[in-house]
Structures are given as structure tokens and as C-alpha cells.
Symmetry: C2
Subunit: 313 residues, 2 copies
């Protein structure tokens, strides 16, 4: 089997970190950037990581998608709020025999990508990574880094463990990223929502860190109820999230150092929030299955208001 | 029938305004104050009102409840967050044959007052008043002023229109306050909650005026859903709030000039919010009847968090 070439679509904290790790491991990686392109072309990427710092003085940086060579694996690491750009990017970036790996937050994004490139080309990846971009081409990796990889199939039926999934998994493993291969993308994404929905939502709405949310009996009870609503949503789609998983999430987050969620950082920096990917898409899918998730819906409406006010005020 | 004497327990915007109107109409009114007492004793009360300004240079002001003569009608116009003081106040302020008139926000307060003075002594009043205290003894009355008066009975069974209710109503009417006498305190209080729950809650949580909440389709939909949850709560207690009432509330508020709710003003001025009176008590009563109001409960938990953080931060 040939070596895969990689395109990183969106070289922020997440795309920059994983792309740099892949290139450092010896793979051929192409980075798509916007405002940082010229800087990265001249100075490369700098990774300050708990695993050890490293610099890539030369990376292949592009601002024009038409100049990226078509790659075997196109990694989507934009914020989902930028996904309206994908129809102009993916047809250029991905080989006819290539794969699009969606490393974004939330739910339902693979289905949107499948509309552009066909569902046989799509793989989903759920990332557990704490990293920030602190300057152009300068990424700080704080903790975690593992990825769960799953095949996408139409309607999110479990997709099995394919050869290409194994190869991408091996590429990341060789780059020092722990990978788990999973058959059920839908369940994996909903398990991530168990964390993302309460903490991302409430951190913005209540202007709070994860530690503050867990320290108050009122908000920690609300966090737990929201997690159980996520489990109710998964159940409406035929998937089971066990109570033990929820209790572990609560326990682990309570022990974590105070953390600002990605949505809170976006909100504080007046960037659009990933409200549709994390809240709107899951809610709509569950509503179509005839189930209401009222507290999650309440957060969704509050976040849409705050997201709109961000530009109005 | 003899003329009633009045004690105003809590001379803020609401107590100061109604008490001053009663005294101006010729009644004998005694004002209980805390920090403003000395100022009001020396300078009286100044009312700047859309109905015409007036000054009462001399009012009977007390800071020591033991010095207030026991009155026929004791008007409770404290914030409900100060109600822990009532057991020390009411036994002194109310005559054996007297009445306690609860002019506070929220639900379930009459039952608490009945525990102190007996349920046969309690009347509830629902106020529709926009007024602020802008300095000691200085009250600005912006709009509305009417009151609905209802007898309180144990378990909030409809209490009929009594002679004493009529007399208090007449006293307020003579003072220029439009009064409606109603038989069903529970329904009247829940109708007020239709407005208070969404607007007080969301104005704090989303840092918004009523106008901003109504201008956004996301928040105005949430407001409407919260109003329908209030109606569901009333229904669980055997009362019907018609759809037309809800639609009128939405319509009227959308037309109102931008307005900061009382809870928002309390929050901004770092005072305790009336979370239990407006959210906690109604929720507990409905939960005891076997009904959940999940979105109201979500707001309740969020507000309790914000109320606690007010002192923690």
C-alpha cells in the first residue's frame, strides 16, 4: 500500500497540531491557511507541547486551494462555522480515490461533507485535544491528543473497520497520536456531545469555567441533567450511552484544572460559535425521531441569541 | 366602618410609591425603613410620577419595628429575599384584628406569611408598577400602577370577595390606584408569572432588555415556550391561562419601550435576586403535583448559579 499524502484544511490549533505531528513523522503534508499563510510559509510551525516542543521550519503552506495538490487524505480542521467554504475547497483538495477525514466538533457534519464528495469518501474523527493557537503558526498543546476514527456511512449506520481506516490510524499512531478505531460513528459522536453540550453551552451562558460549573450544586446538577438528555437523544437514535459513562465524565471534569471551553473562547474572542454543529444538528435529528430534549433546546435558543448579539451589539 | 391605618414594611420604589399615595389621600400611614430612615424622617418622600409629581415633607418613618403602632393593614413591600425578617416584624406591626397585604412578586409568599400571622389575616396583591428608587426617599414612577387584590386561603382555594377586600380596594382607589378585586389568588399570581418568568429570567441570563429579547426570533420563541410552560404549571394546579392571554403578553411586551426587569436591576446592582419567589416556589408546587417544567427548571438552575456567583466572584 502506498503512503498517504495529507491536506490540512484549516491550520488552527487542532489542524496545526495534528498536521505538524504527521509531517514530523515523515509524511507529506500540505497546509491550507488564510490570514497566517505568509507567516507560516516564511517561518514554519512552532509546537509547544506537553509531550515536548518542536519546530517545523519549512511547511507547505497554501492560501489558494487551487494550488494544493490533490491528496489522499483531506483533514477538515476548520471550525464548523466555516463549513460554507467546503464546496469550494474539497473538490480541489481530495484525490478521486481519496478520503475526507472530518476532525470537527459536533454532529451531522459528515453528512454535509458527503453531499460534496460522496458518502463513500468520508471518515469521521472525534478528537480529544486541548490546544490553543497563541500566534500565527504558534500552537500550544496542553493535554490529551487522542482520536477515535470511524467510517461514515449514509444514515450513520455502523460502518465496520476498513483497511483505509487502519492505515490512517497507523499514520496517526506513527506520529505519536493514540488512535482508537470504532465501528459506530454516531455513538462516538454522541458520547462526545455528553461533554460538549453542557460544558460548552453553560460556560458561555453562565460565563464560567468547568471548575465553577462543577463547584456549584445548582450548575453541576444542570450539567448532569443535560448529560442525561444527551443520552435520551442517543437512545432515540438507537444508541445506548451507559450511566457509568456519564458519571465518569462528571467525575473527570470535576477533577480537571479550570478550563475554558472552545465555545467560550470563541465567544470571548467574538468569533461565531459552533452552535449548529453541537446543538442544532443533534436536536433536529432527535426531533425528527419524535423526541424532545427541552433543556438542551433551551440552551440552544439562548446560544443562538448570544451568537446573534455578538455582532449586533 | 372605621378608617384603616397602614404600615408599609419596606419603603423602596413600590412601598414608597403606594404608601405615599395612600398618605396623600388622607390616610394614616407608617413607613418602616432601614438605611434611608433618618433621611426620610428629615426630608419626607418625593415622588416623581408620570401622573404628576408630589412631595410629602412629613412622613412617619421608623427603623425600629417595635416603635411602629400596630396597624389595620400591614403592606409587605420588601424584596422577597428579605422575607427572613418578617417573623421579627409582623407580630409587632399588625393589629389582632389586622390584615397583612402581600404586595410582593412571585408565588407562595402568602403561605409563608400565613405561617407567621395565621391564614385568616392574609391578602395577596399583584402589582403592575414600573418605578425605581433613585435616591433615599426619592422615587420615580414610570408607568402602570394598578393592583389586583385577592383573599388568601389555605391551599390557595379561591377566597371570594370579602368586605375587608373591598375596603382596602376602596382605600387604594381613593388614592388614585386602579384596583381589581379577584376571587382566585393562585390564578392571578400565575398569570403574573407568565410575564415574570421569561423576562426576569432571560434578561439576567442573556444580559438583555425586553426589547432585545423580543427582537430576536430565537429568544422570542424561547420566551413564548416559557410562557406556555407557565400555563402548563397553572394547569397542573387546576387553573387555566388562555392562549389569548399569552399572545397578548407577547404582543404588549414587543411594543413596550426597552425595559430592564427588576431581577436584572437587582443582578446588575449585585443584590440578591428573587429566584425562589419567582422560580423555586412555583416549580416546587408544580413538581409536587407531578408535573415537570423543564425549561423553567433550566432557567432556575442557571439563575441560582448566577445568584451564588454574585457573592463568590
Amino acid at each position: 500500500m502506498c503512503e498517504f499524502t495529507y491536506a490540512i484544511v484549516g491550520t488552527g490549533a487542532l489542524g496545526g497540531f495534528y498536521g505538524a505531528k504527521l509531517q514530523q513523522s515523515g509524511l507529506n503534508v500540505h497546509f491550507l491557511l488564510k490570514s497566517d499563510c505568509e507567516h507560516v510559509r516564511q517561518h514554519g510551525l512552532v509546537i509547544k507541547s506537553v509531550d515536548g516542543d518542536f519546530t517545523l521550519p519549512r511547511v507547505k503552506a497554501y492560501s489558494d486551494v487551487q494550488k494544493i495538490p490533490a491528496c489522499d487524505v483531506v483533514v477538515i480542521s476548520l471550525k464548523t462555522t466555516q463549513n460554507h467554504l467546503l464546496p469550494q475547497i474539497l473538490p480541489f483538495a481530495v484525490k478521486d480515490t481519496g478520503i475526507v477525514l472530518v476532525l470537527q466538533n459536533g454532529f451531522g457534519i459528515e453528512a454535509e461533507v458527503a453531499q460534496i464528495v460522496g458518502s463513500d469518501k468520508v471518515i469521521g474523527g472525534i478528537c480529544f485535544l486541548t490546544a490553543n493557537k497563541i500566534a500565527p503558526g504558534y500552537i500550544r498543546h496542553l493535554s490529551y491528543k487522542n482520536i477515535i476514527l470511524c467510517e461514515y456511512t449514509q444514515n450513520y449506520h455502523p460502518g465496520g473497520i476498513t483497511e483505509r481506516l487502519r492505515q490512517i490510524g497507523k499514520d496517526f499512531e506513527n506520529a505519536g497520536i493514540p488512535v482508537e478505531l470504532d465501528e459506530d460513528l454516531l455513538l462516538a459522536r454522541w458520547k462526545k456531545l455528553v461533554w460538549n453540550i453542557p460544558y460548552n453551552g453553560l460556560s458561555v451562558i453562565l460565563n464560567a469555567t468547568t471548575a465553577e460549573l462543577m463547584a456549584s450544586p445548582d450548575s453541576s446538577k444542570l450539567v448532569e441533567e443535560l448529560m442525561y438528555e444527551v443520552a435520551t437523544g442517543a437512545k432515540a437514535l438507537g444508541r445506548t450511552i451507559p450511566d457509568t459513562f456519564i458519571q465518569k465524565m462528571l467525575h473527570n471534569t470535576a477533577k480537571m484544572t479550570p478550563y475554558l471551553t472552545s465555545m467560550k473562547i470563541d465567544y470571548d474572542e467574538r468569533r461565531p460559535m459552533e452552535v449548529e454543529a453541537i446543538f442544532g444538528n443533534p436536536l433536529r435529528m432527535v426531533q425528527a425521531a419524535g423526541t424532545n430534549l427541552p433543556k438542551i433546546d433551551c440552551l440552544y435558543q439562548q446560544l443562538k441569541f448570544l451568537d446573534a448579539m455578538r455582532t449586533a451589539r
